[in-house]
């Protein structure tokens, strides 16, 4: 791969005035909320700046130095000091609360989002759809569906940024982080890498293609699939020999993985943790870190044996063994090779 994989994307138009927007497109549910806050902040700043600058200008003119007029010595005023500390503080707290509400919204994906696994690496984006489609530097999503991205990086820190959606999330190596959005408008939008990641940081571009649901169905149907992610995970699971210990009818040498995801797990040292994606990831890559109560620490370390994409498949598979709502609407569920109650597909 050359150093400038995406340079063509940058050379679209001929004249710089051909496109000269001053406001980013709104293409997600959050965009509108954020723009509202922005407008509020702009107005607030405008008012504050006008007030301060006008006052200064008026003083500068009215009290400019003239013969025969001395400055009047005024030492201060406690009331004013209190007023201009408390009032701004009040305004600041409003901004804080508003920003916090949006942030809270941004950080809590709706329960039944479609989960797309994303791996960032120098300098490209790889996406794994639950239905098995894989994409590089391009992500197709339908309008109106909640999409949760489960992101990880293979090397350095990157950042998943779609200005049209007003979302951004740093993508860290060695750990899953999540982000979510619901697209509202069909179109093709920039995907930027926003955290500096080396030579081609500015070339680590992608496109988010938002489609009408029907177009999306066609796209799904026509694009190559590698079997659903969970199914791929299942075959990984078998190839890596996990079933020798993790059986489904009974507790084997290892705990059964049915219903693990999304539920609390009691650990050997008495703590309980919720089994989220990061927990599953850690259980495989570094099993000794958290030992399930009642089990011995015999599970081999898989660090270095599975790469990020395989890891994602395994996680998707283990997750598919749990009953919704912890699972996700978009994810086709597998029938586990055991007796766990099955749930209907989407």
């Amino acid at each position: 791969m050359g150093l400038t994989p995406n340079i063509e994307r940058l050379r679209g138009s001929k004249n710089m005035f051909e496109t000269f927007p001053l406001w980013p497109v709104q293409a997600s549910t959050i965009a509108g909320q954020l723009d509202l806050l922005y407008v509020f902040l702009l107005l607030l700043s405008l008012v504050t700046c006008t007030a301060i600058f006008t006052t200064i200008t008026v003083f500068a003119i009215k009290y400019r130095r003239r013969h025969g007029r001395e400055a009047e010595q005024i030492h201060g005023s406690i009331i004013l000091e209190i007023a201009w500390s408390v009032i701004p503080l009040g305004i600041f707290l409003v901004i804080f609360a508003w920003g916090a509400i949006i942030y809270f919204h941004e950080r809590t994906p709706p329960r039944d989002s479609t989960e797309i696994y994303t791996v960032a690496k120098q300098w490209m984006w790889k996406f794994q759809h639950p239905e098995g489609q894989r994409e590089i530097n391009e992500l197709h999503v339908p309008v109106g569906r909640d999409v949760k991205l489960i992101l990880t990086s293979q090397d350095v820190i990157h950042s998943f940024y779609v200005p049209a959606f007003r979302i951004k999330q740093d993508v860290l190596p060695g750990r899953y982080v999540t982000a979510w959005f619901r697209a509202t408008k069909p179109g093709t939008y920039h995907l930027f890498c926003a955290e500096y990641c080396g030579t081609m940081h500015s070339g680590m571009l992608g496109q988010i293609v938002v489609m009408d649901p029907s177009d999306y169905q066609t796209w799904l149907a026509t694009s190559r699939t590698f079997g659903s992610l969970a199914a791929a995970g299942q075959s990984q699971f078998e190839q890596l020999g996990c079933p020798t210990c993790h059986r489904f009818e009974t507790q084997g040498r290892g705990p059964t993985l049915n219903g693990v995801y999304g539920n609390p797990v009691t650990l050997e040292d008495g703590r309980t943790v919720i089994a989220d994606e990061n927990y599953i990831r850690e259980s495989v890559l570094n099993p000794g870190a958290k030992i399930v109560s009642g089990f011995k620490n015999i599970m081999p370390v898989f660090q270095g044996l599975v790469d990020e994409e395989q890891m994602n498949e395994l996680v998707a598979y283990v997750k598919s063994l749990s009953v919704p709502p912890a699972g996700s609407a978009g994810n086709p569920t597998l029938i586990p090779p055991g007796t766990q109650p099955q749930h209907p597909k989407e």
Binding site: R107, T108, V273, I274
Partner: protein, 97 residues
């Protein structure tokens, strides 16, 4: 300066030294007894006590009339707590939500 400069007795220094030595032995010994999570607590309490003795007596802080010295020590410790406390706060709450 000389008029209010404290010259402490050599005996006091030796006593403090003896206490510090004993505490060192105790802290090493206690580590071998299983106190559960309290092992760490005990070790740190002893260490803090030792440090206090050194600061107050050997470094004469107990005898200085200068409040500034104490302010400097306390604020440095306070800032250390900020660094440790606020960064640990992030680590401690990452698993929430």
């Amino acid at each position: 300066m000389a008029e209010h400069e404290h010259i402490l007795s050599a005996r006091l220094y030796v006593i403090i030294w003896a206490v510090l030595m004993c505490l060192t032995v105790i802290t090493a010994g206690v580590a071998f007894i299983d106190l559960g999570p309290f092992n760490t607590v005990v070790a740190l309490v002893i260490a803090t006590f030792k440090a206090l003795l050194v600061v107050l007596i050997f470094m004469h802080v107990k005898y200085t009339s200068d409040r500034l010295t104490k302010t400097v020590i306390l604020s440095a410790l306070f800032w250390l707590m900020l660094l440790l406390g606020l960064s640990l706060m992030d680590y401690g709450t990452r698993h929430f939500v």
